[in-house]
């Protein structure tokens, strides 16, 4: 054994210095640094986590559904849970850089295929499945909890244009995305719709594209262009529509009133009122209003606030209200009608050549009205539409009007009125009655009687004449008629086909044509041999 042991060779000694530090430790240090870096990096690149509440989670799949911003994937839905109120809470983690766009006023919505009157959108999600999109907000503060929108908001982000604010009491069929029309061209859309905190009305935000923003001046008026406007008033039936999309989807329109040329474009976020239709939007373009009170004796049935006030057919104002009051001194009830007259409209229509002052003062206007009244201008109630019985107030000049003056110191100066309409008709009837009274009816009837008696005798003479005719003339006439008939009969037989007259006539005609032919031969011969007239026919030619 020891021999064999001796056979085992000895190891060769070597020289190497032992490193003071085991190099192998570099590996876990590198791993630690690497792991630490990954941890720090992932912690740094971790964006915010947001929670969005939706009515339902259709198409949302935790871990799969993607959050997109401007069509870039920026996160995924991590889980879906329920809120206490039963809505669905969708939690999503976003990437670090996209997280910066999530502000307090960001909006989240689910993008899925959508077909509406305005078009088809989200077709790509047919294959990829729904995703959650959001819009960047403008708020300074970052947001974490959001209420998801059921309908995608209009895409105005990054689009040039201006936003304006509208106030209305009735949103009608307007919704976010409804078109804003300018001369029936889509110029923008409704971007937000919100009930005022006190519940008194609605505030709308509309976005107008930069191409049209110059037309939105401080003077423009916005109105509901939704659906079809049927107006039935003193002026008759009117139907007004906007574009088909607006009819179906609702929309609003704006336009500058006619007298506002040259107005400066409105700055962003200018507030406007939203009128219910075009006519009401356009009927208030006059800012100077003078109120008058009128008293009518007729029934006010058929009069409504907003009814027109015409001056000889020109619209210059509208009825603002009416009611009744008790006049204690006279002990009677009176029925005042309040009207608003657009004095600047009066001014516009007042053409007085060189006498017209450039800028009219209130005194000038009063003077005009005074002159009109002095000239006999009176207010009358008239029926504008016979079918509907709508009344309007007509200012017109009445002949022989009782003189009146306007007391300008009253809060509502009283405009003198005159009876019109039915009472005028009654007056006319009265006139006719007096004229009838004045007629010499008895004399007329005496004359009439005499005339009738002579007419009677004349008629009697006529009847005797008729008797004579009957007895004497009629038999003679009958005999004459029968002899005429016989004459006609013989004439018929004479002219008939087989009558001798006919055959004689035919023979005669035949002979006549024969002699005519001979005559033609003769004339031919004479044409060729004119000398034969003198010499006679040469014998050899035969």
């Amino acid at each position: 054994m020891s021999d064999r042991e001796a056979e085992v060779p000895h190891a060769q000694p070597g020289h190497a210095h032992r490193p003071p530090f085991a190099l192998v430790w570099v590996i876990p240090i590198v791993a630690a640094v690497l792991g630490g870096w990954i941890a720090v990096h992932s912690w740094l690149s971790k964006g915010p986590t947001v929670t969005i509440s939706f009515r339902n989670a259709e198409g949302i799949d935790p871990g799969k559904t993607i959050i997109r911003y401007k069509n870039v994937n920026v996160g995924t839905v991590t889980h879906v849970s329920f809120a206490r109120d039963g809505s669905v809470l969708v939690s999503a983690s976003l990437s670090h850089d996209a997280g910066e766009f999530v502000r307090e006023d960001s909006q989240f919505w689910v993008v899925s295929p959508r077909v509406s009157a305005a078009g088809i959108s989200g077709l790509s999600t047919l294959f990829s499945g729904a995703y959650v999109a959001f819009s960047a907000g403008r708020s300074e503060r970052a947001g974490h909890e959001f209420k998801g929108l059921e309908v995608p908001p209009p895409d105005t982000e990054g689009r040039a244009g201006r936003e304006f604010i509208l106030h209305t009491s009735d949103a009608g069929s307007l919704q976010v995305g409804s078109p804003v029309l300018f001369h029936r061209v889509r110029a923008g859309e409704v971007t937000a719709l919100q009930i005022d905190p006190d519940g008194s009305g609605m505030t709308l935000k509309v976005f107008v594209d930069s191409a049209y923003e110059q037309f939105v001046t401080a003077a423009v008026r916005f109105w509901h262009a939704s659906g079809v406007d049927l107006t039935l008033d003193a002026e008759g039936l009117k139907v007004e529509t906007q574009s088909a999309v607006a009819v179906i989807e609702g929309g609003l329109a704006f336009e500058a009133p006619p007298n506002s040329a040259g107005a400066a474009p409105a700055p962003p976020d200018t507030e406007f009122a939203l009128f219910k239709d075009r006519s009401s939007a356009m009927s208030h373009p006059y800012t100077q209003i003078q109120s008058f009170r009128m008293y009518f004796t007729e029934s006010l049935r058929g009069l409504s606030p907003g009814a027109p006030v015409d001056l000889h057919g020109i619209l210059i104002g509208e009825v603002s209200g009416f009611g009744f009051e008790y006049d204690e001194s006279a002990g009677i009830f009176r029925f005042p009608v309040d009207v608003d007259i657009y004095t600047d409209m009066l001014e516009e229509h007042y053409i007085a050549g060189a006498h017209r002052p450039k800028a009219m003062t209130q005194a000038d206007q009063h003077e005009i009205v005074d002159r009109l009244v002095a000239a006999g201008m009176r207010a009358r109630l008239k029926t504008g539409n016979l079918v509907t019985g709508q009344l309007y107030v007509d200012l017109d000049f009445v002949r022989n009007a009782t003189p009146a003056r306007i007391n300008w110191n009253a809060a509502r100066p009283e405009m003198p009125s005159a009876g019109g309409g039915l009472s005028a008709l009654a007056d006319k009837l009265g006139d006719i009655a007096t004229k009838l009274d004045k007629m010499p009816l008895e004399k007329i009837s005496g004359e009439l009687l005499k005339t009738l008696q002579s007419l009677q005798t004349a008629l009697n003479g006529t009847s005797t004449l008729m008797g004579h005719l009957n007895q004497d003339v009629a038999p003679e006439a009958a005999a004459a008629l029968s002899s005429t008939r016989e004459a006609m009969k013989s004439l018929g037989s004479t002219l008939s086909e087989a009558s001798p007259l006919q055959s004689d006539l035919r023979d005669t005609l035949r002979q006549l044509s024969r002699s005519a032919r001979t005559l033609a031969d003769l004339s031919d011969y004479l044409e060729q041999h004119p000398e034969s007239l003198l010499r006679g026919k040469p014998k050899d030619s035969q």
Partner: protein, 207 residues
């Protein structure tokens, strides 16, 4: 005759590369008389190296499991998959056997390896008195099963190479795969650095 526990006690060294037995010359650094490879009584710095590799592997085990190992993008969108989410997908699609295989090979095995190696290192450091044969078996198991953990990397490599249908479907590796590969390699290195003979050494036997 004195009962010898090991060759080391008799002053013999074994060359681990050519198998030559040599008599220790007593110097600090020795070389194999046949192949010239450096030889020693036990693997040099075995416990230190094993521990170092083990710590590195344990650190990387975290990102290996948390980071996505691959990204699948198809027509209907893209998706990042970690090892665990891959297993979940397999379970959801009903591929139970495959799910179990991936789960064991990619999650359980690396973890058990880490635990087993840590146990072995601790047992030597703490000079456990328990019979070393059981621990030796554990070591053999670790060494044998270790390579199978590369199954995931292998599958991923195949997928990345094969599924390149551009717009239709693409599979791309993600950093998790690197971490995972590193974990497997580091545990292999760690197991390799471990000298099982240490399990049998009595205190004070090895000079």
């Amino acid at each position: 005759m004195k009962q010898l526990h090991s060759a080391a006690q008799a002053g013999f060294l074994l060359c681990l590369s050519c198998g030559q037995l040599a008599r220790s010359s007593g110097s600090l650094i020795q070389h194999c008389p046949r192949c010239g490879e450096r030889i020693s009584l036990r693997k040099p710095q075995s416990i230190t190296r094993t521990t170092a590799y083990l710590i590195a592997a344990a650190i990387l085990y975290v990102p290996a499991n948390l980071l996505p190992i691959m990204h699948t993008s198809t027509l209907v969108g893209g998706e990042d998959d970690t090892i665990l989410s891959g297993v979940i997908v397999l379970v959801q699609t009903g591929s139970w056997p495959l799910a179990l295989l991936v789960f064991f090979a990619s999650i359980m095995v690396p973890m058990l390896k880490l635990i087993a190696l840590a146990l072995l290192v601790i047992s030597i450091r703490q000079r456990w008195k328990s019979p070393p044969v059981g621990r030796l078996r554990l070591y053999r198991l670790v060494e044998f099963v270790g390579r199978w953990s590369l199954l995931d990397i292998y599958v991923l490599t195949l997928l990345v190479a094969l599924v390149q249908l551009q717009a239709l479907a693409t599979v791309e590796p993600r950093p998790g795969a690197v971490a995972f590969g590193a974990v497997v390699v580091l545990t292999l290195l760690s197991a390799r650095s471990f000298d099982p003979r240490l399990l049998f050494d009595q205190p004070g036997e090895i000079p």
